[in-house]
């Protein structure tokens, strides 16, 4: 312990300025994130309004029971991870492709316009996206069925086919986030040392080789950071997206229910704050285990790319 402290003092003396520079951020996070964290105990309490968070009685793991009674917990955990994985691959993949292409585009107005336009979906809230989705896929007047019947085909009731919904959700998710995510990669590409490109030119590398050997390795640090950050929230579902696209359509729940939507539905029927806290805690712990494992592996392979 004393050795640690001495080391700390030594470091403090050596890098006093760095400590000071990190201090504002540390304080803000401490006050606004760490102090309220004491509320985590709520997951293990039988919450009573008149007793408050700390005064309420402990009730062990009872709050966790609602997730796992009737076997729903496993199903929604699976779904959450599944959706996050496919969404991670597709939306980040698409964002990288777009970023690489856009940074190679030489026609400046075209570059600027497409880059801005791809960002637009980010601004459309899920509520509105939800009504668009319904307008496209509903059986009677939907755009899809209008096209199909126009081509002489049979109408399809998309809302009774659960397996297509992961695809639909995945497409809309990528669509919504590709612009936002690609900005990170575009910025990363601009950070790649220009000399490398010049050297490549001299060596006569073609455009594909340039991307393969210079651009992609150049943004590797950013790609890995983004992947790790997303893996760290692999158990959190984008509530708004699922809720607005699927709504109350029970037929699709098996395929589309994630932890967050399930908890929301339970909450509207029983106002049990302990249950929500338990669900959040469960998500946190699993995320923690997963990210520690993945980060540990990354650290073994290349220390520089680990998150912490």
């Amino acid at each position: 312990m004393r050795v640690h402290f001495q080391n700390f003092r030594k470091e403090l003396k050596k890098n006093k300025a760095l400590f000071l520079m990190a201090l504002p951020a540390v304080l803000i996070v401490l006050v606004f994130s760490y102090l309220p964290m004491s509320g985590l105990v709520l997951a293990f309490k039988e919450y009573r309004y008149n007793k408050g968070v700390f005064g309420s009685d402990w009730n062990g793991l009872a709050n966790f029971r609602f997730l796992f009674s009737s076997g729903v917990g496993w199903k929604i955990t699976q779904n959450t991870i599944f959706y996050n994985l496919i969404n991670l691959v597709t939306s980040q993949g698409l964002a990288i492709i777009i970023a690489v292409i856009i940074s190679e585009i030489k026609v400046i107005p075209y570059k600027k316009i497409t880059q801005s336009v791809i960002f637009f979906p980010y601004f459309i809230s899920w509520v509105i996206v939800g009504t668009f989705v319904y307008n496209i896929f509903n059986y009677e007047t939907g755009l899809l069925n209008t096209i199909i019947t126009g081509l002489g085909g049979e109408k399809i009731n998309v809302y009774s086919i659960p397996w297509v919904w992961p695809i639909i959700i995945c497409i809309f998710n990528s669509w919504k986030w590709c612009g936002y995510n690609s900005v990170v990669y575009i910025a990363a590409v601009t950070g790649v040392d220009a000399e490398c490109y010049e050297a490549a030119e001299i060596d006569g590398a073609n455009i594909f080789q340039r991307i393969r050997y210079i651009t992609l390795p150049g943004i590797r640090a950013t790609v890995i950071t983004m992947l790790l950050l997303n893996v760290g929230r692999i158990l959190r579902g984008d509530f708004e997206m699922f809720y607005q696209i699927v709504g109350n359509n029970g037929q699709l729940f098996d395929a589309t229910d994630v932890i967050d939507t399930y908890v929301f539905r339970s909450l509207t029927t029983s106002a049990n704050l302990g249950m929500t806290a338990a669900a959040t805690f469960y998500q946190s712990v699993l995320c923690f285990i997963i990210i520690m494992t993945v980060n540990g592996i990354v650290k073994k392979i290349d220390k520089d790319y680990a998150l912490f």
């Binding site: 520079m21 996070v29 960002f119 950013t222 950071t225």
Partner: protein, 308 residues
Amino acid sequence: MATVSMKKERMKGTGIRKGRAAITFNILGYSFVGLTALICLLPFIFMISGSFSSEKEILLHGYSLLPREFTLEAYSTVFRFPEKIIRAYGVSVFITAVGTGIGLFILTMAAYVMSRQDFKYRNVLSFFFYFTTLFNGGMVSTYIFYIQYLHLKDSILSLILPGMLSVFNMLIMRSFITAVPSALIESAKIDGAPEFTIFIKIIMPLLKSGLATIGLFMALHYWNDWYNAMLYLNSEEKYPLQYMLYDLLNQAQSLARIAAQSGVPMDNLPTNTLKLAMAVVATGPIVLLYPFVQKYFVKGIAVGSVKG
């Protein structure tokens, strides 16, 4: 500037194979990006055209590229009390400007400290920050803490402080700083420059695209945030624009839920066109921020300019 023109000259003299690759890339890349942009643009057009259509046409025929039965009715409803909208604009602009300005500076300092290889506690610090994305106190205790101890109820600070430091943004920023060659810092240190001066004079100018990216993200976050306003604000004159939008978009759904469980009849719900018009009004100005930020994403500006 010089490097760019040099590059162009070299390009002219490259071989045929390289030229063919460039043509292939251009055809594929330009059309891919163009198509994606189109898909991203369409819903936005639907939204705008819908906001100028008559409610009845939308209900009967769905959305279209051009307004059906052009009318300004929805907008006149939005602006029935223009001073409300204008004040909300003011609030949104204020929190976005102040929050982004201060937050970006604090965040970048912390990210810089975390990126310094010679700082012993950089991983500890990263973990300290990252941990808050895994665990949080939950809505209840955060709410109680902010209200009882920080006195944020009905305070404009509740819109600025809690969301100031996104750890995600901080870690993305760190990945950008990592791309800056450490030799630059080393040489500055040898020249005897104090840490803070190095950060301001050397790191910040090199980080233009990174700062633009994260600044953009932060500004968007502040602009789009309705959640804190929903939780903490009571008085209408402090409502930001997005909260007004959120309120309008979600009222119908919530009222429907109430009506399904009790006997309340539902009158005077916001119409679809009103929702779309409000969405257009609320997103309008922030959409223009992106093209403005774009000019900082110029390739090769980063390292080359300093070295040259």
